[in-house]
């Protein structure tokens, strides 16, 4: 099962390191990372494999979003189907 983690906010040191640590501890493999700066907003999109998660999806989701709040970022994780469904026929 693949999911996308989207990080939007002001660029600061250690965002990827912080998130990677949370993911590694829960056995989530990072498959791809794409980052851009749009309108001075840092946007990072991470594709991850959540099929061997060692906690529940919602626990990880909360952890990531709480981490984001601490760093002034919006962080969310969503299963890839929502994007495939909307943008691919």
């Amino acid at each position: 099962m693949k999911s996308f983690i989207t990080v939007i906010g002001k660029d600061t040191v250690g965002i990827i390191a912080g998130l990677s640590a949370i993911l590694a501890q829960r056995n989530v493999n990072i498959l791809d990372i794409n980052q851009t700066v749009m309108d001075e907003m840092f946007t990072m999109i991470m594709m991850v494999d959540t099929s061997s998660l060692t906690c529940s999806f919602s626990e990880l989701s909360t952890l990531l979003s709480d981490y984001g709040k601490g760093a002034g970022l919006s962080v969310r994780m969503q299963r890839e189907e929502i994007f495939n469904t909307m943008h691919r026929i």
């Binding site: 996308f4 989207t6 939007i8 794409n34 851009t36 946007t43 999109i45 999806f57 919602s58 989701s61 969310r76 994780m77 969503q78 299963r79 890839e80 189907e81 929502i82 994007f83 495939n84 469904t85 909307m86 943008h87 691919r88």
Partner: protein, 454 residues
């Protein structure tokens, strides 16, 4: 499948975050046809057990889907077989206890609403229909989550004018019994023409007799998404506007389809339909009226409004129909007044009148919805409004409905607060010229010639 691009991911997130894209409701339809009994108590025990057994995981599953896909699911609801059909096997005269049972089942399962305290009387009443309709005011006044509906007309049967007359009185009684809360009972009561059997939206949802044991129906939302799409093409012609709406409707509906399939899989329940409706809420950026204004109208209700709504309604269906394998319910744009910030504004400034709304219902998905009128509006006047709306539905082969609240003690210009999704309604002016001789004729208006389609 090609890799999803970052801009596509961000587009989806923007729709959800800034344009209020959400799933309005996951509604589980449950048949209660096997819950009939000579003993009312036994029947109600069966009803309670069946609902809580089948819908026990509904709220939890919806919350999981919400978390995993990152799409808000605003309401979780249950619709059941019209209670008149279930209760009439019992020897009881008073069906209010059935409504209380539904309310308890709704509370136990944690859903927002339960629909189906209903009767279908377009061609006439059974004994059960009569008993149920008599009980509607008390049922709505003594429950929190129960919604009621009565179908009084179809294209095939004509209009049951006895039922039209009675529903005017029932609405007045319901308002009187819920005086303390602005007549809120009437916000949970819909009078239909050509009612659909698979509608997931309240207050009109029930589980039709042609439906399976249980089913998952999903109602989408997203007026804000459509409005933003039109904003991107100022001054372009109507062909371009229709194309923009279709694209947005397609994307919105695909999410609805995904959620419906996921919910039915998790609940081990058949997937019924996606209802392609643009359902507004009182929140800013979630208004159908603002879509019409975005097309170039100063205020919703200005000349051109009906044409704008016709285009919107049609383009939503065209885009949505391509995105879902099973479409049903009401499917179209809703124009409730109290639930739409733009409609409320338009009424307040005098741009939008009851008569203009009636014209708009010829081309929208339902009818006169969430209309607050003065508390002294007579039962006959309300019946006349219902008859007019039913005629529009009957002749045009479409669903129409009336959800009208004669707010006790209020007059034109006052505002009634219902709270939550029901919003707040400016009390609207009603044409009070007499019609009681017309309403008191009774009987049935025959089905129109276009009912003969075989």
């Amino acid at each position: 499948m090609s890799m999803i691009r970052p801009d596509e991911i961000l587009e989806t997130i923007e729709m959800i975050d800034r344009e209020n894209l959400d799933i309005r409701t996951i509604t589980m339809g449950i048949s209660l046809r096997d819950c009939c009994s000579f003993s009312g108590k036994q029947s109600r025990d069966k009803i309670y057990d069946k609902i809580t057994r089948l819908a026990g995981n509904l709220v939890r599953s919806a919350q999981d889907i919400e978390t995993e896909f990152g799409i808000p699911i605003i309401n979780k609801r249950i619709s059941v077989t019209p209670i008149a059909l279930v209760a009439e096997s019992s020897d009881e005269e008073d069906y209010v206890e059935y409504a209380r049972t539904l309310d308890r089942a709704a509370a136990e399962t944690g859903v927002d609403f339960i629909g189906g305290f209903s009767a279908l009387v377009h061609k006439g009443y059974t004994f059960g229909d009569e008993k149920l309709i008599r009980c509607i005011p008390e049922a709505l006044a003594s429950t929190l989550k129960v919604c009621s509906s009565v179908n009084i007309a179809t294209t095939r049967a004509g209009i049951n004018m006895d039922a039209v007359a009675q529903m005017g009185r029932i609405i007045k009684e319901t308002a009187a019994l819920t005086t303390d809360s602005g007549g809120i009972g009437c916000a949970k009561l819909v009078v239909f023409s050509n009612v659909p059997e698979d509608n997931p939206f309240m207050a009109g949802a029930f589980h039709g007799i042609g439906e399976p044991e249980s089913v998952i129906n999903v109602g989408i939302s997203g007026p804000g998404v459509v409005q933003s799409a039109i904003k991107k093409i100022p001054g372009e012609d109507f062909g371009a506007v229709a194309e923009q709406i279709k694209r947005s409707a397609f994307k919105i509906t695909r999410i609805g389809e995904l959620v419906a399939r996921e919910a039915s899989r998790r609940l081990n329940t058949q997937f019924g339909i996606v209802d392609l409706s643009l359902a507004p809420t009182p929140a800013m950026g979630d208004s159908v009226a603002h879509i019409l204004e975005e097309m170039g109208l100063e205020k919703c209700g200005a000349p051109g409004t009906t044409a704008a709504l016709a285009l919107l309604n049609d383009a939503v269906k065209k885009g949505g129909a391509m995105a879902s394998s099973y479409v049903g319910g009401l499917s179209g744009a809703f124009i409730p007044v109290s639930e739409d910030a733009g409609m409320i504004d338009a009424v307040r400034c005098g741009a939008l009148t009851l008569e203009k709304l009636e014209a708009m219902t010829c081309v929208c998905s339902v009818g006169l919805d969430m209309i607050a009128v003065p508390g002294d509006t007579s039962a006959e006047t309300i019946s006349g409004i219902i008859a007019d709306e039913a005629a529009i539905g009957m002749v045009n082969n479409k669903t129409t409905a009336v959800r009208i609240i004669p707010v006790p003690g209020m007059t034109v210009g006052d505002t009634v607060e219902f709270g939550g999704l029901l919003g707040s309604g400016p009390v609207m002016k009603v044409n009070n010229f007499g019609n009681s001789d017309f309403i008191n004729r009774g009987g049935r208006i025959p089905a129109p010639i276009n009912s003969m389609r075989n």
